[in-house]
């Protein structure tokens, strides 16, 4: 007789999808909750570095685009919190863990956006790296997560293009504007490479996640894919990737590149990046400032309920 756990393994082995009420090992559930929550937190914290530039966007067109992008990030956060909740956790609980610093978000959002060109660099590099990470997640073994990622990926490609367009415009502008674009690439290149996580040899959760079909490619594989995709795009912009070790290898068809400083990644993950405290404090404040809205809506709903009863 097949147990419910056998049926879990059989589904995974057949590359099928696990759905919310199916039996699953506790480790699978916990890994997914951790990963989806971290992903959701990244989406909503990611609104901050860009939101910072909405009021200073250089034209009405750019402002409307940036607002739409930041709204998308909020939406992506909501898709992902909803996916996490199908595993039996509550969104409010996940937000409490974020606010208490007990769950993480992507280290990339702990870097500041100093100039308008940074908005271009985030769209092009950060969203570009996110797409490389996220496309394989559309085939993740957990159905609700995979479905949320399909929606996210569809929307993300506009984000990357608008970023590239910003930089392309700056690169074809005055020498000062081009220098601003180069400066943004210089600062965002290394943190973007860190977005793929530690090198495979040091990656703690990877092996089990691969076996469970949550993760489909290793960190180093995805990092290589990102470099191969991005370097020719930098050439088109006429910008220099800040890596003296960058060489195209004719034999393999891939770029050889310098690894980022992972010690910096660990420091930022630990909370010692340039903006960690600011990001979290802002998030907590936004949540607390919104409390009266949630309370008023609940009170109104209760009053209406009484009127019906």
């Amino acid at each position: 007789m097949l147990t419910r756990m056998d049926s879990f393994q059989a589904t995974i082995d057949a590359d099928g999808r696990i759905e919310p009420r199916d039996a699953m090992p506790e480790g699978y559930r916990k890994t997914l909750i951790r990963q989806i929550a971290q992903h959701a937190h990244s989406e909503i914290i990611g609104m901050q570095p860009e939101g910072n530039w909405i009021s200073r966007a250089p034209s009405l067109r750019r402002k409307a685009i940036l607002m739409a992008k930041v709204q998308d990030e909020a939406g992506h956060g909501l898709y992902l919190y909803a996916a996490a909740e199908t595993l039996g956790v509550d969104r409010a609980e996940l937000l409490d863990l974020l606010h208490a610093g007990r769950q993480k978000y992507s280290s990339i959002f702990n870097y500041p956006t100093l100039t308008w060109a940074d908005i271009g660099a985030i769209g092009w590099l950060v969203d570009g790296a996110a797409i490389v990470n996220q496309v394989p997640l559309c085939r993740c073994s957990y159905g609700p997560y995979a479905r949320a990622m399909v929606r996210v990926c569809k929307e993300e490609s506009f984000h990357q293009r608008q970023g590239f367009e910003i930089l392309h415009t700056l690169c074809n502008g005055t020498p000062g504007q081009k220098a601003m674009a180069q400066d943004a690439l210089d600062r965002w290149w290394w943190p973007s490479l860190m977005m793929f996580g530690p090198p495979d040899a040091a990656s703690t959760h990877s092996e089990q996640s691969m076996a469970w079909g949550i993760k489909r490619h290793s960190n180093d594989e995805l990092r290589q894919r990102f470099v191969d995709m991005t370097v020719p795009q930098a050439d088109i912009l006429g910008l220099r990737v800040p890596d003296d070790g960058l060489v195209y290898d004719d034999a393999t068809g891939h770029y050889t590149f310098t690894e980022p400083d992972y010690a910096e990644l660990y420091e930022v993950v630990k909370g010692n990046g340039p903006c960690n405290e600011k990001r979290l404090a802002h998030r907590v404040k936004a949540h607390e400032d919104g409390a009266w809205v949630r309370e008023a809506a609940a009170a109104y709903a209760a009053k209406r309920q009484e009127a019906v009863a």
Binding site: R4, E19, R21, D22, A23, A68, Q71, D72, G75, L78, Y79, A82, A83, E85, T86, D90, R91, A92, R147, A148, R151, E155, R294, E295, A297, A298, Y300, A301, R304, Q305
Partner: protein, 93 residues
């Protein structure tokens, strides 16, 4: 616990198609759930109609009894047209 109940969201992507489940969200009441669903799930004109249903109002079949529950249809191949032999030369059948 969230003060706001959970709602399941169904969207009709265009006329002629049925509503399809797209995800869920929290909202204090049905009106807010509809508005939030519009903002969360149809930012790019993905729908012409939205349903929201309180998640607690949905009764679902249990994955535990999946086999017993769906078994009865398993041995009734005669419900499919391919079960029947059609003599050669018969048309429009």
């Amino acid at each position: 616990m969230s003060i706001e109940p959970l709602w399941e969201v169904f969207v009709r992507s265009r006329r002629g198609l049925s509503h399809t489940h797209v995800g869920s969200l929290h909202a204090p009441d049905a009106t807010m759930a509809l508005r939030n669903a519009r903002d969360v799930y149809t930012r790019r004109q993905e729908g012409v109609s939205i349903w929201v249903v309180r998640a607690t109002d949905i009764t679902a079949s249990s994955p535990d009894e999946k086999d017993e529950f769906f078994d009865p249809a398993g041995d009734k191949v005669y419900r499919h047209p391919t079960f029947y032999e059609v003599p050669e030369g018969v048309e429009h059948l």
